[in-house]
Each structure stands twice: as structure tokens, then as C-alpha cells.
């Protein structure tokens, strides 16, 4: 489709330090990462590995302690629609209908009402929400709310779409439906996507590359290409190739998680 081209995301030596109870804590240490134009990359790691912090830094919601985040070879600071973000909780505006939620980012721009309506319609259709356009969030299920969040972020044509464990709170069937949907959306809109998850199966299914994050401090432990056909359906999860990839990545995650747990 036309519109804003997807971007190249680059992290150079990114680190983040907090102080917890007076003690400095290194949440992320020396992260070097490059996501190519239109690539779908998943970041996996056990909880506590700093996955959410990483997204928060890229989105610009908190500042880096060291290093730089660059989009299309320009440094970023502060949040913006060029890096759309989807939270696990959805963060959908409860007083706005589905339609008006999706339109939120567009309302801020100097475009005509017709133009806005056209775009909102397209994204509603893309996420399967057309029938629900006049519903209020309190009437929606978890999966439907996430679809609204995705449509809303996408409507602003971000150069990078960031997703923070978007399907973590959903049941298995809904989660798989959403994975298929996200995959299709990615193929239709050709965005650069960075998705953070603790579900390795999900990461292998969706991405072209999986980055494993170690704990304490968070740093890149592995960066593995996913050599699966680019057009995937749920059946691929049962193929031996998929299962082998999944097993090896799960082992990696566990290996780097194990170092973090207290000795028994």
C-alpha cells in the first residue's frame, strides 16, 4: 500500500539503569540491534529480562541511560506516531467507540473528515472490526480490544510497530486467531514490526528473526533467523522444522533464565 514507508530501526549500545531502593540496577546493558525495513522481529526472554523496558526505550516513553535509538538513521527522543505501540492491556479509550478509538491519532492531523473516515474504514476492515465500529470498549472481549489497539496504532502509519506482549492475557484459541490476524496485517501493510513476548511458540510463528534476551542485566544472548516460509498458517506449528526451532530457542531462554533464579 502507499503512504509512509516502513523504517529501519537501530539500537546502538543501548543501556538502561534504574535505582531501586537506593541501589543502581542495570536493566539493559549494551544492546546492539538492527531491524531491517519491513522485517518482523520477536524479542523473547524470561520475565525480568527487560523486554518491556526495551520497548519503552524504543517508543521514547523513557530515556536511554547509554547509547542511542535510531530510526531511518536519525536519533529518536520522545514518543511519536512513527513508532506505534500496543500495550498488553490494550489501553483503549473507554469513552470512545471502536471507530473513534481508531480515529484518535488521525484526528490530530490536518486531514479532511472524509480522508479520515476512509482510512478508519480500511483499518476496521483489516482487523475485522467493521461490525463493531459503534461498540463501546466495555462491550468488547479481550481479543476485540487488542484488535482495536492494533488498528489504532496502525492508522497512524508508524514506521515501526511495537507490541508489548499483546496477546499475553488472552486464551489459547483467541491468541492463535490474533497471531494469524497480526501475520496477515503485517503482510498487507508491510510494516517493520518488533514484538516482545515470553511465548516462544508465538515468536517462532510470527517472526523472521528471534532475539533472545538474557536476564540481569538484560543483554542479547542470541539472534536467530527463522527459516520458515513467509506465508504461514497455524498448521506450520506442527511441522518438525517449527518444533525444532521452538525447542532450541526454549532451551536458550531457559539457559539464560536459569542463571537468574536463586539456587535451590
Amino acid at each position: 500500500m502507499g503512504g509512509i514507508a516502513p523504517g529501519v530501526l537501530e539500537l546502538r549500545g543501548v543501556g538502561k539503569q534504574f535505582t531501586r531502593r537506593g541501589e543502581p540496577v542495570q536493566a539493559l546493558d549494551n544492546i546492539d540491534l538492527r531491524v531491517e525495513r519491513g522485517e518482523f522481529v520477536c524479542v523473547v526472554g524470561a520475565s525480568g529480562s527487560g523486554k518491556s523496558t526495551l520497548l519503552s526505550l524504543i517508543a521514547g516513553l523513557s530515556p536511554v541511560s547509554t547509547g542511542q535509538v535510531r530510526l531511518d538513521d536519525r536519533p529518536v527522543s520522545g514518543p511519536g506516531p512513527d513508532r506505534g505501540l500496543v500495550f498488553q492491556s490494550g489501553a483503549v479509550y473507554p469513552w470512545r467507540t471502536v471507530e473513534r478509538n481508531v480515529a484518535f491519532g488521525l484526528e490530530l492531523l490536518p486531514i479532511s473528515r472524509d480522508e479520515r473516515a476512509r482510512r478508519v474504514d480500511w483499518y476496521l476492515a483489516e482487523t475485522g472490526l467493521t461490525a463493531l465500529r459503534h461498540a463501546l470498549p466495555r462491550q468488547l472481549s479481550g481479543g476485540q480490544l487488542q484488535r482495536v489497539a492494533i488498528a489504532r496504532a496502525l492508522a497512524c502509519e508508524p514506521q515501526v510497530l511495537l507490541l508489548d506482549e499483546p496477546f499475553g492475557a488472552l486464551d489459547v484459541q483467541t491468541k492463535e486467531d490474533m497471531q494469524v490476524l497480526l501475520h496477515r496485517i503485517w503482510r498487507d501493510t508491510a510494516r517493520t514490526v518488533l514484538l516482545v513476548t515470553h511465548d516462544v511458540e508465538e515468536a517462532v510463528f510470527l517472526s523472521q528473526r528471534v532475539v533472545v534476551l538474557a536476564c540481569d542485566p538484560g543483554r542479547i544472548a542470541a539472534d536467530l533467523p527463522i527459516a520458515l516460509p513467509s506465508d504461514r498458517d497455524l498448521a506450520v506449528k506442527r511441522t518438525p522444522q517449527f518444533l525444532k526451532l521452538r525447542a532450541s530457542i526454549e532451551d536458550l531462554v531457559r539457559a539464560h533464565h536459569h542463571r537468574h533464579t536463586p539456587a535451590e
Partner: protein
């Protein structure tokens, strides 16, 4: 896993010497009306509502009819009704009622105009909170009636000083309550707005305020009632009309039937205000989960 090995595991190892845990008798079944948080049938609800009005009313009729309490201290419902009718017929009830309503609308209205923006600022910006909370937290403890001599000095004996009492009595509480409501806006909502391209002012206007509206109306409901409590105090300052003024006047002659009638009117006016605000809240807050 077989249950045999489970059973064996219970009696061997570290827990071998433990006595069996005592079991308490299961509690008696409680009727749904008295169970915690359980919904009650529509019929039960209406019966309870009716009782809450009927029981005091019946008690009133019984007590005044049986002369258990001297009529001067507890006039009969009929006497109160007649007193009310007489005050209405002479027009006094309407002039008094309108005078008090106007004062409350002005005083509380001004308080809302001041407290809502201040509350929004305090709830949104930590700096505003640090700056304003100590002062407001202190001022809210000052009893409005203590301001009467000062207000007479600064504003004279007319309407402004009466309106000022109502303002002072409500503005601080409404500010703090509004700030609390605004502070409840989830941070994720604000963060996601920035990632959609909103600037600070737009986040305030399009996210913080709409989310806070139902809560702010609830705060207003509470403080509108407080404003009515102050009407009697406010009308101590050289008033010539008003429901509070009338109560003080009439008290001199121990006309308790009139006092009761005026109290009933105040209650009805307050109830109307509350209902209107509740309707407004429901209309603006249809989206609340």
C-alpha cells in the same frame, strides 16, 4: 500419579507426626439478602426502599399521635404539612426557597469554576500538586463559619459575603476530590496517547478530562450537599429571606412545625439536585465498566 503413593507421601516424611487439621462446622446458610455482595431480587430491593421511608414515617405518626413526645418538640406530620401549606400560600416559602437556591447556585457554582481547573492541574502535574496541596489541605480544615466576621469586614453585609461562605465551605474539598479523580487516569492511557502523536495539551483535553468527567460529577454531588449544609450559616449574615434565615426566625417562637416543614423542603431540594447530577453522570458516563 497413583493415589496410593499420594497417601503414602502424606504419612511419611516431615509431615508424619502432624495431627489431622480440625475442621470447623460449615457456617449456617445465610439468606441471599444478607450475604456479602450477593445481588438481591428486584422485589426485595423495592421492599427495602419502601421500608426505609415507611418505618420512620410510621414511627413519626405513632410518636406524635401518642404524645410520647411533647408536640412542641415533635410536631405531627399533619401539623408540618399545614405549616408548609401556609408558608406556600403566603408565598414566603417560594421567596425563601428561591433566595437560598440562588445563593447555593452562585456559591457552589463559583466553587466548581475554581476547583475543577485547579483539581485537574493538581491531578495531572506533580509540580502543581506539590505547590497547592499543602495550602489547600490546610485551608480545608478552617470552618467556614469562623470566617463570618472577616467576610463581613471584607465584603459587607450583602449577598457577596453569603456566597463567599458557601464558596469557602466547598471549594477546597471539591479541588482535592477532583484532583484524586484525575490522578486515577491510567498511565498507560496517557502513554499510548503520546505514541499516537498527541501533544501535552491534547492529552489533557482529549484523554485526561474525558476520563475524569464521571468522577468529577460524583465529587460535585457530594459537595453540593455540603453547600446546603452551609446555607443556615451563610444566612446568619444579615439575611432578609432564605430557608436558613426562616428557620432562625421561626425558632424564636418555637414554631417547630414550621422548622420541620422547612427542613423537609431543604431535603427535597437537595434530593432534586442530587438526582439531576446523578442523571448527568449517568448520561456522560455510559462508558464506565
Amino acid at each position: 500419579m497413583s493415589t496410593d503413593t499420594d497417601a503414602a507421601a502424606v504419612t511419611t516424611g516431615a509431615r508424619a507426626g502432624w495431627a489431622a487439621l480440625p475442621r470447623r462446622r460449615p457456617p449456617r446458610r445465610v439468606p441471599s439478602v444478607l450475604a456479602i455482595r450477593s445481588p438481591i431480587s428486584r422485589r426485595a430491593r423495592w421492599i427495602l426502599i419502601t421500608l426505609s421511608v415507611l418505618v420512620p414515617a410510621v414511627a413519626w405518626v405513632a410518636l406524635s399521635g401518642s404524645r410520647t413526645v411533647e408536640p412542641r418538640f415533635l410536631p405531627s406530620p399533619r401539623a408540618v404539612w399545614l405549616a408548609g401549606v401556609e408558608m406556600a400560600r403566603s408565598g414566603q416559602l417560594f421567596t425563601d426557597g428561591w433566595a437560598s437556591i440562588q445563593r447555593v447556585l452562585w456559591g457552589f457554582g463559583l466553587a466548581v469554576v475554581v476547583s475543577v481547573p485547579l483539581g485537574i492541574l493538581m491531578g495531572t502535574f506533580r509540580a502543581a500538586q506539590s505547590l497547592l496541596e499543602p495550602v489547600i489541605g490546610l485551608l480545608r480544615y478552617l470552618p467556614a463559619s469562623a470566617f463570618i466576621p472577616l467576610l463581613i469586614l471584607w465584603l459587607g453585609l450583602g449577598e457577596p459575603s453569603k456566597i463567599a461562605i458557601l464558596f469557602i465551605g466547598t471549594v477546597f474539598f471539591n479541588t482535592l476530590m477532583t484532583a484524586d479523580v484525575v490522578r486515577q487516569v491510567p498511565k498507560s492511557l496517557i502513554d499510548v496517547s503520546y505514541t499516537l502523536g498527541a501533544r501535552r495539551g491534547e492529552v489533557l483535553r482529549k484523554v485526561v478530562v474525558p476520563h475524569s468527567i464521571p468522577g468529577m460529577i460524583d465529587a460535585m454531588r457530594v459537595n453540593a450537599a455540603a453547600a446546603w449544609n452551609f446555607v443556615v450559616v451563610a444566612e446568619l449574615i444579615a439575611a432578609n429571606s432564605g430557608l436558613g434565615y426562616r428557620i432562625i426566625r421561626v425558632q424564636r417562637f418555637a414554631q417547630t412545625d414550621r422548622i420541620f416543614a422547612i427542613l423537609v423542603i431543604i431535603g427535597l431540594i437537595g434530593l432534586t439536585m442530587d438526582l439531576s447530577l446523578r442523571l448527568l453522570r449517568d448520561w456522560t458516563g455510559r462508558w464506565v465498566a
